[in-house]
Structure formats: structure tokens, C-alpha cells
């Protein structure tokens, strides 16, 4: 298989962009030239780049379809956090070797997710790397209107409510199931809960519909990828406010309820990465509107705190209630 050229690989595995029904007239030049050309006489564009590295962001024995799901999910989650609609994608794929079975499974899954979200693969670069797969996706999409309004990190206001979608602790819980560390106890986890936790790690479900619905309603938003406290801190810093979370209000994933060590679960909820839920703020007047959106999307949204003045305790994050603390909850560190 190693005699395949880059063009052979693109033709064999990644030309699905040309055959899917979502190949759109706005893609003037797709895969196969020096660059792609897209027609964008509409709303301002949104651009996000994310990289996944084997052995760092996922284990070496990760299935090809999970690499595809996770890479797309992580990147689409950034679009959810902007309230934007993805449209196009380029992929930088660095592979130690060309394996038909792997590439087939990977590209089929990629095609399926692209189709689901109406994303057209318009180009990229396929390269050889000595060891360890690296995949970097750049998604390009549109804001909801000509004005370019979207969900930012810097709009939280004193007095706002703080909300979180879905449930928390999933990322860290799944990691513990996947790569058990010796000094953390296992817990009785039903098959259903186990499979729910794992699939949230294999294929994060980006909250795109929620993000879009929150444009004009939320004052700020971020997706929880590095950890609740770490990401809340990004909003706090950029909005120059204090995010005051109520520990007992945080929605813990049901699969972790049977864990005997509640302290461990608390830490996972506060600092575990890979949640891909939205953390957002809104004025109390939007309470009913957010409940209505939550109901319409069949996605729980929970009020978990309020926004306070920075001067009370400096810009940052606090967590109230017994046993909870924002201290030393640094979340995922990149280096």
C-alpha cells in the first residue's frame, strides 16, 4: 500500500465530498487543485482549528472511526460555542503508514459526520510522519446573520445566571474506564452508563443546535474542553467578572452516581476535560426562554451559578457548597 501517492489516497478515501448530496454550489473549487475556492457573499465567516495527537489526545489503540468522530466532534464543539454553522473543512492528516483498513474506516466515518452536519471537505494535506498519527481540522462556517453576531467569551455581565448543558464528569469518568489509573478506585457502573460514558468520549456530541438557539439570548458562551473551572475562568478573564458556581447545582452524569468516592467525582466535574458541553451566561430575564430551548432540543440546561463583580474577589471562579472548591482545579494543561 505504500506505493500510493497523495493523490491516490485522496481519490480512494477522501473524494466523498464530490458525491454526497451536500456538495454545494458554493464550493467553486474543491479537492484537487493548489487551493480550494468557496463563494461566501453571505454572512461573516467563522474559522476554528483543532489538533488531535495519538498518545496525547487519544490512546494509540483508538479505532479509526473514533479518531474521526472525536476530531470532528471537538472541532464542531467550537462552532457550537460560537453559535455558528459549519460549512467547509480542510484536513491536515499525518500518518505513519498507509493502511487500507484504517483509512477506509476513518474516511467512512468522516464522510458520515460531514453529511450529518452539511460540511464539505474542500482540501488539506496528507503527509507521512515517523510515529504517531496527527490530525488537524480547520472548519469554516457562517455566523447567523450579516452583522456577524455570535457567542463570545467576553460578554458576561454582573447579575447574569450561569448555565451548563447536559451533564458533567463524563470526560474524566470515560478516561478512567478507558485507561484506569491504579490509585483511583473503580466503581459499579451499569452497562448502559458505561456505554454512555465511553461514547461521549469516542464521539463527543457537539451542542450545535443549542449554540445557534442561544445567539441573542446568552451573553457569553464557551465549550467545556479543558475543564469546567478552567473554561469558566476564560469567561471570567475575558469578561472581567467573577463566575460563582454552586457545587451542589452542578449536573453530575448519572453513570458516576454509584461512585463511592464523591470527592473524586467532585474533582472530575470541576477539572475533567473533554465534556464538550456549553457553559454560558444570560440575564435572569432569559430564564424561561432558555428552559423553552432546553425542552425543544430535549437537552437539559441547568442553572449552576451567577456572575459577580470582579472586585469582590478578583477576576476568577469560585465554587460554593460543602466539599466543593475552585482551588487547584486547573483543568487540562496543554504543556
Amino acid at each position: 500500500m505504500n506505493s500510493l501517492s497523495e493523490f491516490d489516497i485522496i481519490k480512494r478515501y477522501f473524494s466523498f465530498a464530490d458525491v454526497l448530496p451536500n456538495s454545494d454550489a458554493d464550493t467553486l473549487v474543491g479537492i484537487g487543485d493548489d487551493a480550494a475556492v468557496i463563494d461566501v457573499q453571505k454572512n461573516p465567516l467563522v474559522v476554528a482549528t483543532d489538533t488531535l495527537i495519538e498518545g496525547v489526545h487519544f490512546p494509540a489503540d483508538f479505532l479509526a472511526e473514533h479518531v474521526a468522530s472525536r476530531a470532528m466532534g471537538v472541532n464542531l464543539s467550537d462552532f457550537a460555542a460560537m453559535g455558528a454553522t459549519p460549512r467547509w473543512m480542510t484536513m491536515a492528516l499525518s500518518l505513519p503508514q498507509v493502511e487500507d483498513e484504517w483509512l477506509s474506516a476513518f474516511s467512512q466515518q468522516l464522510a458520515q459526520i460531514c453529511q450529518q452536519h452539511n460540511v464539505t471537505l474542500i482540501g488539506g494535506d496528507t503527509t507521512r510522519i515517523d510515529k504517531g498519527l496527527v490530525i488537524s481540522l480547520t472548519l469554516i462556517g457562517e455566523t447567523q446573520s450579516k452583522s456577524g453576531v455570535c457567542l463570545r467569551r467576553n460578554g458576561a455581565q454582573v447579575g447574569d445566571d450561569v448555565w451548563v448543558s447536559g451533564s458533567l464528569g463524563k470526560g474524566a469518568g470515560a478516561l478512567q474506564l478507558l485507561m484506569p489509573s491504579e490509585n483511583i478506585m473503580q466503581w459499579p457502573c451499569s452497562d448502559d452508563a458505561r456505554s454512555e460514558l465511553l461514547s461521549s468520549f469516542y464521539a463527543p456530541e457537539p451542542r450545535l443546535a443549542l449554540g445557534k438557539a442561544l445567539v441573542g439570548i446568552a451573553s457569553s458562551a464557551i465549550d467545556i474542553s479543558d475543564g469546567l473551572v478552567a473554561d469558566a475562568n476564560h469567561i471570567a478573564t475575558q469578561s472581567q467578572v467573577q463566575i460563582m458556581l454552586q457545587g451542589d447545582a452542578l449536573p453530575i452524569h448519572s453513570g458516576l452516581a454509584a461512585h463511592a468516592n464523591y470527592q473524586q467525582v467532585q474533582q472530575w466535574v470541576l477539572s475533567g476535560g473533554d465534556e464538550y458541553e456549553l457553559l454560558f451566561t444570560a440575564t435572569p430575564e432569559k430564564f424561561a426562554a432558555i428552559q423553552a430551548i432546553s425542552l425543544a432540543l430535549d437537552l437539559p440546561c441547568t442553572k449552576v451559578g451567577t456572575v459577580g463583580e470582579a472586585k469582590e474577589g478578583g477576576v476568577g471562579v469560585t465554587v460554593s457548597d460543602e466539599g466543593w472548591s475552585a482551588q487547584n482545579q486547573k483543568g487540562y494543561t496543554h504543556f
Copy 2:
């Protein structure tokens, strides 16, 4: 230094986008949110992604500023080959460790090239990798007009002239100087020629002005990154024609003139990658216009062949003149 967060790194090294004069009003949201937002109510957009991997695309002891120059040069060269204007960039940078000296040199050089070409860094992802730096740039820019017309690979017509910019053999010659292989003889190379060859490798000069000038004049174009014959073959395949090159017309870099083994030089010219010159086709009526462009830009453009019918010998590339042959000149293979 390893306690730096991703945000610290961005703030310390890559926030130059905010202070350069070229930070433009069209960048509605730059670095620091979940995604960037750009305003593009103008011409269709051009998107290109390129990856450089340490040990594969450049040696492990490559200087930081050369990594920056080469990564930008390679990607900008794709824009040259489209006749497009770069505007924005995202960067996926995977580093084994955070070294201040390296990052300072790298980011300063990146900033300088961004400024030179009016490119705004709008986002990306900085990640840790176990071994070997990986850098993947996605450039976004504009076509020259609302119609989205640009230089494609599929427009060559029977009877067209074939042209090449600058000189050839630079990429392979520089590689031989950098990483001498034992079975290839060294040659007497003046200091000037040596430094010219090396700098063309360290910092490829993208032919952006030429590409833009050729929109509406050339019928097809590609940048020579994989090798003359390999890239000519891309035009031949996509245009369904035969590219007939005249070996003795090919402009060989003057630094290779003193090489005793002409056969070796011929092979470098035909199959050496990393030239970053433009190979393009145009009707014979455009001869004077191309000469005028060449003169205006002070960049030699040489007619090196013609476009023939595919049926004469199939779609592909031929090279005439004694000692030249297109056979077995596969160019750079990615796998």
C-alpha cells in the same frame, strides 16, 4: 517554561496579530475565543492547508526562523499558483516542549512574513507532541474578482505554450548541500551560489505577484513543489492533455552550472521538489504579455514547451532533447 498554559504561549508569542498595522477591520474576532470571525462580503475565498513535519520535510536541527519561513513560503506558494491574495491564517503548532528561545525566534519570523504579505493570524491550536515538531497552516484569502476566477490546473489547451518562472534544480541542489548523500559528488559552488541555493530552501519566495498578474492570461498553473515532471503531470491529467517539455530550454539555476555530472543536474531539474516556481500554460498570443509581466516583476519567465493532444501519446509529460527523459521522474512521493 513548561508551566506555560496554551493561553500564556499565545499571549507571549502569537499576539502580534493585534499590534501589527495590518490588523484589519475585517477580522471581527481574532485569537482568543472558541473560533475566529472574519468579514468577507467581497470576492470568493481561497483556502489552502499545508503541513511540515520535522525529520520529514525539514531536518531536526533546522533553525526556528527557517521553520517559520518555510511553512509560510510553502503555503503562500499555493496561493501564488491560484493567483489569489492571502488574508488570514490559522496555525496548528505541535511542540515537544516549550522553549522560549525557539518560540521567540519562530514567532518573530512568522510576524515578519505575515506583515510582509498582509496576513492576519486569527487562531489555531497549540498542542504537545511526544517527539518531532509538526506545523500545519491554513491560509484563507481572496480571488481577484467577484466571479472567483483564478488559476486552475485543468485549463491547459492543445497548442498552448508551457512556461516556468525563475530557475530549476534549486530544491534538490540545496538539499544536497544541506544533507550531502555519499554517492552524489559535491561540486565547486561559489559562496554566492551556495547562499542563494540555501536561502531558496530556508525561505522559499512565493511567486504571488506573478500569480496575480497571470489571472486572465495563463490557461492553467501549478507551483512546483513535488517536482517538475510530477507537477506537470497534474496539469496534464486534470486538463486531459500532453505536456511536451524541451529539456534544453529548462532554466537551470546558475549555482548548478559548475556541477560535473550533468546527468545528475538533469535529474534534479526534472524530479527535485521544493522549487516553488510556477509552471503555467498560455496561448501563444500571450507571449508578449508574459514577457512584459516578467520584465515588470524582474522575474525571468521561460517558455519550456508546448501542450499537445492527449491522443498522440496519452495524457502525461514528455521531455525532448538529448539526455532528458520524463521516465522514472516521479518527484517527491508523500508515502
